[in-house]
């Protein structure tokens, strides 16, 4: 069998988190009763006209700048005409001739090798509504809430060669856009959608093979599976001496296979022409500079700075900066209480554990730096021990409790009364003569048992270190 190379390009649609839609004042909020986030403009009523949301342009430019694109300082909109019930005007306002960003790139790393994936262009467009099939009535309903939500479409060059590279690209893109604050990039909510253009060719061939387009992958894992599946399918087609048909295929994750949606014969002619209801957008040098100045520290730079400034290892820095929210909380907490290694441990270990348990993403983290700082401060001052601290932290994470109040209410403060401690320890020693004997005979573990018993007796409200010290004193 011949060796084949896979060539992949991506078209990624990203919903922007502006407050209102791209051409009207309706809210972009996800969810809501059907057809309640609408107006005559986004439902395409007769006589309605679009007015461009300036924030959309700002976010698109920000995305372009952060991905090394050239910004088109004179940019226009075009109409893409086709009929479908989720498209109320029967055309989508998009950009074909003069997209807002061009010729950028994103650096990715897979298997230790760095590579730049080219970005061909980024353009602004409006989202369509949602079709919902009602099985009881056997009819299709339309919800126009999503109509007019602003999108940027990021078109890559066909530079990717494997599912790993695709995932790396998507993860990097997601990070950049989240750091910029232009999108929350939640695939499961549809605020990030990826269409895969894939073809195969013999290794060393100069021409590209015929490509297919795949849609409807709802997670990174599904994307990886779709790529594998389509690569195999195309190779099989070629090995049988047939030709790959240029078509759009819909990925079915349950069946782990794809189905042809429309063939070349049904290819749409979108009859693009410049949108006459909108005027061209001119982006001045001043505005461009303003947007650039607003750009927050991006992940790579932040990671390096963490390693230097807080003297934490690369692994820790990478994890802490894997979501901007996490990094923000880290920095804010360190600003209050110092101790970067300690703060980082709480975030990397306990926080990540609790996030995983509750099935949430780091981007959604809603942890108060003040409260975490206060907790760490209390450990430092010996007011609570680590066991108690973990419990309190869980409460801060889940219920946003105030640590000081919680500790007071539940009487979790560490008992630092040496006298009480000694009394308890003496009692335990008295009750466990065998362990005492074992320890005196050299079994270190026996000491641990006695510490444990003491902790149990003190309901964990003691400092195990101090118990250890006192025991050693007594048992000598």
């Amino acid at each position: 069998m011949k060796t084949y190379e896979t060539v992949i390009g991506l078209e990624v649609h990203v919903e922007l988190v502006t407050k209102s839609k791209i051409f009207c004042g309706c809210t972009t909020q996800f969810g809501g009763e059907p057809n309640t986030h609408c107006c005559p403009v986004c439902t395409g009523m007769p006589g309605s006209l679009p007015v461009l949301n300036k924030k959309v342009v700002e976010f698109a430019v920000a995305a372009g700048l952060a991905t090394g694109c050239t910004i088109s300082q004179y940019t226009k909109f075009d109409r893409k005409n086709y009929f479908y019930p989720d498209l109320p005007k029967a055309y989508q306002v998009s950009q074909l001739y003069l997209p807002i960003c061009r010729n950028g790139g994103i650096e990715i790393e897979t298997g230790g090798i760095k590579k730049t994936i080219g970005i061909h262009e980024i353009h602004m467009e409006e989202d369509a509504g949602k079709l919902v099939h009602d099985p009881w009535e056997d009819c299709t309903l339309v919800d126009y809430n999503r109509c007019g939500v602003p999108l940027i479409e990021i078109v890559s060059d066909p530079d990717m060669r494997s599912a790993d590279e695709v995932i790396a690209y998507l993860e990097k893109l997601k990070l950049i856009l989240q750091y910029l604050g232009v999108s929350d990039c939640k695939m499961q909510e549809g605020s990030l959608r990826a269409d895969i253009n894939l073809s195969v060719r013999e290794l060393g061939a100069k021409e590209f093979g015929t490509r297919t387009e795949m849609k409807n992958m709802n997670s990174f894992k599904a994307i990886a599976r779709a790529i594998e599946g389509e690569r195999k399918r195309q190779i099989e087609v070629l090995e049988y001496g047939k030709k790959v048909v240029q078509e759009t295929r819909r990925w079915d994750d349950n069946k782990d296979t794809s189905f042809a949606m429309r063939s070349k014969e049904d290819a749409q002619d979108y009859r693009y022409f410049p949108e006459p209801d909108l005027v061209p957008v001119k982006i001045s040098d001043e505005w461009l500079a303003e947007i650039k100045a607003k750009e927050p520290e991006l992940r790579d730079a932040k990671m390096l700075r963490y390693e230097k400034e807080f003297e934490i290892p690369e692994y820790d820095a990478a994890l802490l900066t894997s979501a901007k929210r996490l990094a923000d909380i880290f920095e804010a907490t360190v600003a209050l209480v110092g101790k970067p290694k300690e703060v980082s441990n709480w975030l990397m270990v306990e926080t990540m554990r609790l996030l995983k348990e509750s099935g949430r993403e780091a981007e959604e983290l809603d942890l108060s730096p003040k409260k975490l700082a206060a907790l760490i401060q209390m450990i430092e001052e010996g007011k609570i021990n680590r066991t108690v601290a973990k419990e309190v932290f869980e409460q801060i994470f889940k219920e946003n409790v105030d640590p000081e109040s919680y500790i007071r209410e539940h009487g979790l403060g560490m008992v630092n009364d040496d006298g009480l401690l000694r009394d308890t320890i003496s009692r335990i020693v008295g009750d466990n003569p065998q362990s005492v004997a074992d320890y005196k005979n050299g079994k270190e573990k026996a000491l641990g048992f006695l510490v444990g018993q003491t902790m149990k007796e003190m309901k964990s409200k003691a400092n195990p270190g101090r118990i250890n010290e006192i025991l050693k004193e007594i048992l000598v």
Partner: protein, 491 residues
């Protein structure tokens, strides 16, 4: 005194002076409508009840001291049926929107409400504004009040006829290729298409977005200027609306054209122009010359390409603008279909008339891949050349003068059989829309059949003031030509 013979401003004045009540004016108009509609059929929807209620409200507010700065307060008006009126059905004279009730008012309707006018109803038009005779209306033709065997023109035929027949004191029309000016010309009334971007298009049901403008139709220049003043202004809801300090148009109602340079494009006086119309136009030009204007003929570039460029561009934009009428969300839906494709096909086949379909097919074709460059792109280039031609002309002239239409109103039923011939009748008006310029049609006489002839004055971008001044001056020299409603005498 026959109330209906008053001009709109005259009526407004008498209302302010408490000589006439808003209710009386409204009732008089409604009575005229009741009496004359069977003959002329200007209206699609008469909102008699709402008009009476509104008249009472306006009178109350006038009595309370409001509308002091609104000279048109209390004046009954008609609105073309492609302009959205909240709660009142807006049909575009099409089966497709036969029962469509907009949930909002067009910006111009809001402005006229704020100025205290009283809406009598929605007037007839060519379906979706596509046509030159109002014969493509789904609700039946409108007849020319001067001679009911003739068309009133189009597409704002109902609006022009209503003013001519005294069924409204003022009307709002829309103009994409001549649809205010040509029916004004055919019906012997005064209508102006403003500079593109001057009047908000928000709420105007779109035909060709880059060419459409709403404008007033009135019985005289002063009334026209007054209504124009109310409806112009920047609208943040319309991205193509210009933000510019406008002069008060009524300040230009001055009889002084001394030194004004007026050019007559030679190409406008060529073959195809009716002799009587030509004579009437040249007589009017001479009038202005006698009053001090400098009038001369000149060569205007690219005249002959205007019609094909217009029909390519307008049809292209229309094919896209009318795609939303798909039976899914509002308007007509076929009752006989299986599956989505048939829903679309049958709804649009049954909901649209022939002329609309014709233009949408042309539009889809000229935008299709493989033909876009040869037709649409080419037409855009021609559009730029036409504008250049006008720009050059306006380096020398303040105004251009010519006929509004090559003939007077044709007979009913004589136009639709030959659409191309009908399109050629737009020769003097379409280039104005392509260049985005302002232009007014004023009556300048009758032909031997007793049908009105219209004089067109074309101005520079935002040059409405010069147009109004010249038109007013001409009117002063001839007296206002009162509409002659089927046998009634003119003043």
């Amino acid at each position: 005194m026959d109330l209906l013979k008053l001009g709109a401003l005259e009526l407004g004045q008498k209302i302010k002076e408490r000589e006439i009540s808003v209710i009386d004016a409204t009732k008089a108009s409604l009575a005229a409508i009741e009496e004359r509609e069977e003959k002329f059929h200007c209206y699609v929807t008469v909102t008699a009840e709402e008009a009476i209620k509104r008249a009472e409200e306006v009178q109350r507010r006038i009595d309370a001291g409001e509308y002091k700065d609104s000279p048109l307060a209390g004046v009954p008006i008609a609105v073309k049926d492609n302009i959205c009126t909240k709660g009142i059905r807006t049909t575009c004279s099409s089966r497709m929107l036969e029962n469509f009730v907009p949930p909002y008012d067009a910006t111009v309707v809001k402005k006229l409400n704020d100025a205290g006018t009283v809406m009598l109803g929605k007037v007839n038009m060519d379906e979706f504004a596509m046509g030159s005779t109002t014969e493509t209306s789904y609700f039946g033709v409108t007849k020319n009040p001067y001679n009911t065997e003739h068309v009133p023109g189009g597409s704002s035929g109902g609006a022009a006829a209503a003013v001519a027949a005294e069924e409204a004191f003022l009307a709002l029309g829309s103009d994409t290729g001549g649809s205010i000016r040509q029916p004004s010309s055919y019906c012997g009334v005064t209508g102006i298409k403003p500079t593109y971007g001057t009047v908000s298009r928000f709420g105007l049901i779109a035909y060709a977005s880059s060419l459409d403008q709403i404008g007033p139709i009135a019985g005289n220049v002063s009334d026209c200027a007054a209504m124009l003043e109310v409806i112009t202004g920047h609208d943040p809801m319309d991205s193509t609306s210009v933000n510019r300090k406008m002069n008060r148009y009524t300040d230009s109602l001055v009889d002084n054209v001394k030194g004004m340079k007026i050019g007559i494009p030679k190409g406008y006086l060529g073959s195809g122009l009716d002799e009587e119309v030509k004579l009437s136009i040249l007589k009017a030009a001479k009038s202005l010359q006698e009053r001090g204007a400098v009038v001369e003929k000149f060569e205007l570039a690219a005249v002959e390409y205007a019609i094909p460029a217009y029909y390519v561009i307008a049809s292209a934009e229309a094919s896209s603008n009318l795609s939303r009428y798909d039976g899914v969300k509002y308007g007509f839906r076929s009752s006989d279909f299986e599956g989505l494709q048939e829903l679309y096909k049958h709804t649009r086949s049954e909901g649209f008339g022939d002329e609309v379909k014709r233009r949408m097919m042309i539009g889809a074709f000229v935008l299709s891949s493989g033909y876009y460059d040869a037709y649409y792109n080419k037409a855009l280039k021609v559009k730029a050349l036409i504008k250049q031609g006008f720009d050059r002309a306006f380096e020398t002239y303040d105004l251009l003068l010519g006929p509004t239409a090559p003939t007077t109103a044709p007979k009913l039923g004589s136009s639709l059989a030959d659409p191309l011939k009908m399109y050629l009748g737009d020769i003097y008006t379409v280039s104005v829309n392509l260049a985005g310029l302002p232009a007014m049609s004023i009556p300048c006489g009758l032909d031997s059949k007793g049908l009105p002839i219209g004089l067109q004055l074309i101005g520079k971008p935002f040059g409405e003031n010069d147009i109004i001044r010249a038109a007013y001056s001409y009117e002063q020299s001839h007296g206002v030509i009162r509409p002659q409603v089927c046998g009634k005498e003119t003043v």
